[in-house]
Amino acid sequence: MTREDVKISTRNLNVYFGDLHAIKNVSLQMYNRSITSIIGPSGCGKSTFLRALNRMLDIIPHARVAGEVILDGRNIYENGTDVVELRRKVGMVFQKPNPFPKSVYDNVAYGPRIHGIRSRDELDAIVEDSLKKAALWDEVADSLDKSAMELSGGQQQRLCIARTLAVKPEVILFDEPCSALDPISTAKIEDLMRSLKNDYTIVIVTHNMQQAARISDYTAFLLMGELIEFGKTARIFERPCEKATEDYITGRFG
């Protein structure tokens, strides 16, 4: 698969929460080995959109999805989709770091274990590899048995990224991953995302427009559940086509 291929896309995606029409007819392509950011004001449906991509909306009562989400050419909402396998392929990192109240090792090994890996050697290798990819190995190599709750917020978030990497996903969804972190931790996570881009397709929801401009290749602007504009990040930020996009990125509302 080359860089320009579409990895995951939506076609006329609609999401409803009861009577609320949260996502309206969004069609968007997310390209392989690139970072796509979703920006927009609070309540515009960014997180909802993200959660439609790995069917995390399934666990919310009253949520209903219409339209298609196509991963590798197949609609993930068609009957017979293996949700477990889908979520393994499409990993997710949340807004607030949410490590389990377990050791660092057990956090990373959790995913591989539920997918049936039992051999200690194999788990050791996955844990080390994932923590290295998440740029956390050097800080925790000597304290893998320590509770994850004792790590700093930034370390916890990198641990959550390592935990996601451990199940060998192809797409990683980031839901405002830095909004609870200080600037130094944020910079580390951004560096990490840039390096992960070489192997994964990344979609990030962010509140922070500078962050979107810094790290992403493509940017989509959502407003009130509608896709207003989508394009290469540089183009969106330098020459937005829509008035609403320009108003938002220049800080006139938001």
Binding site: I59, M92, F94
Partner: protein, 296 residues
């Protein structure tokens, strides 16, 4: 007196009122402890400690040579405690998981108060149900002449411990942050894997504390065991033997003793042992709960 200083007096009075109530609770607890210990320990002027704790025979009214061994009674209490927890913990935790994790909001709203209502059943009523339904049932299954034994008592006492175990376990499980469930599901875990791998471990210390509180209830239960446990002072060797736990022994015999005599003192000593058992169990559950908060 101006308004402000009156408010000040009121404030101090209210603070004093609450402090006094808090202190009163502690005084009552210590008072009971001293009272039991003071009367109970007098028994040891005449009964050897060794006989009391290790003697298997309890027969204070035997002519000429009364026996003061509490081992059979303590064993009866322990049998009922262990068996009823073996029944109540799996049942209680499974119900708590169902209510907290799986039930629809409507079922949850109905089920939780319904389970808490079990606590409102008077134990004497439960004893009647035991006599009429559970005991014949147990007798039938195990082919016994009657069903009044440790197992029957344990089943009924387990029912009494269920509301405590379910209610507290459910609170603990519901208090687990939603983010843990999301993280697990997003890694591709099924709901069952999430419960087993994340929810139960995170709730474990709370579930242990809930079970300890249930245990405290079980050990102190008197009426049901008095009615259905069989009341035999013989040392029980099987869970199908009739037993006479500490509580029913005290309840039966306290009516027959002369206040202040040796038998009277011995029953207080027995009560003191029971109090220490329940106190230790409650203390342990308290330590568990605090420890859990420390971990978070």
């Amino acid at each position: 007196m101006n308004k402000r200083s009156w408010e000040g007096v009121k404030d101090r009075f209210i603070a004093f009122f609450f402090a006094a109530n808090g202190i009163l609770t502690i005084i009552i607890l210590i008072g009971i402890f001293i009272f039991l210990a003071y009367i109970g320990l007098q028994a040891f002027h005449e009964i050897s400690i060794r006989e009391f704790f290790f003697g298997k025979e309890w027969n204070p009214t035997a002519y000429g040579e009364p026996k003061w061994g509490i081992l059979s009674l303590v064993t009866g209490t322990i049998y009922i405690a262990v068996i009823s927890l073996l029944i109540a913990i799996p049942l209680g935790v499974a119900s708590a998981i169902y209510i907290a994790e799986l039930a629809s909001p409507f079922i949850r709203e109905v089920l939780k108060p319904a389970i808490e209502m079990i606590a409102a059943i008077p134990s004497v009523v439960l004893g009647l149900i035991g006599l009429l339904i559970v005991a014949p049932f147990v007798a039938e299954i195990f082919n016994l002449p009657n069903g009044l034994n440790a197992l029957t008592a344990s089943i009924l006492v387990a029912i009494m411990a269920l509301p405590t175990i379910i209610s507290i376990s459910e609170d603990v499980i519901s208090a687990i942050p939603e983010s843990y469930r999301e993280a697990s599901l997003a890694l591709g875990a099924t709901r069952w894997q999430t419960i087993k791998g994340v929810i139960l471990p995170a709730a474990s210390s709370g579930i242990v504390a809930a079970s300890m509180l249930g245990l405290g209830r079980v050990v102190g239960e008197t009426m049901v065991v008095l009615m259905v446990a069989g009341n035999s002072r013989a040392f029980p060797t099987s869970i199908l033997d009739p037993v006479r736990p500490i509580t029913s022994t005290i309840a039966i015999e306290i009516k027959e003793v002369v206040q202040g005599d040796l038998h009277f003192q011995a029953l207080f000593a027995l009560g003191f042992v029971l109090f220490l058992m329940t106190f230790a169990i409650n203390l342990a559950s308290d330590i568990f709960l605090t420890w859990r908060q420390g971990v978070r």
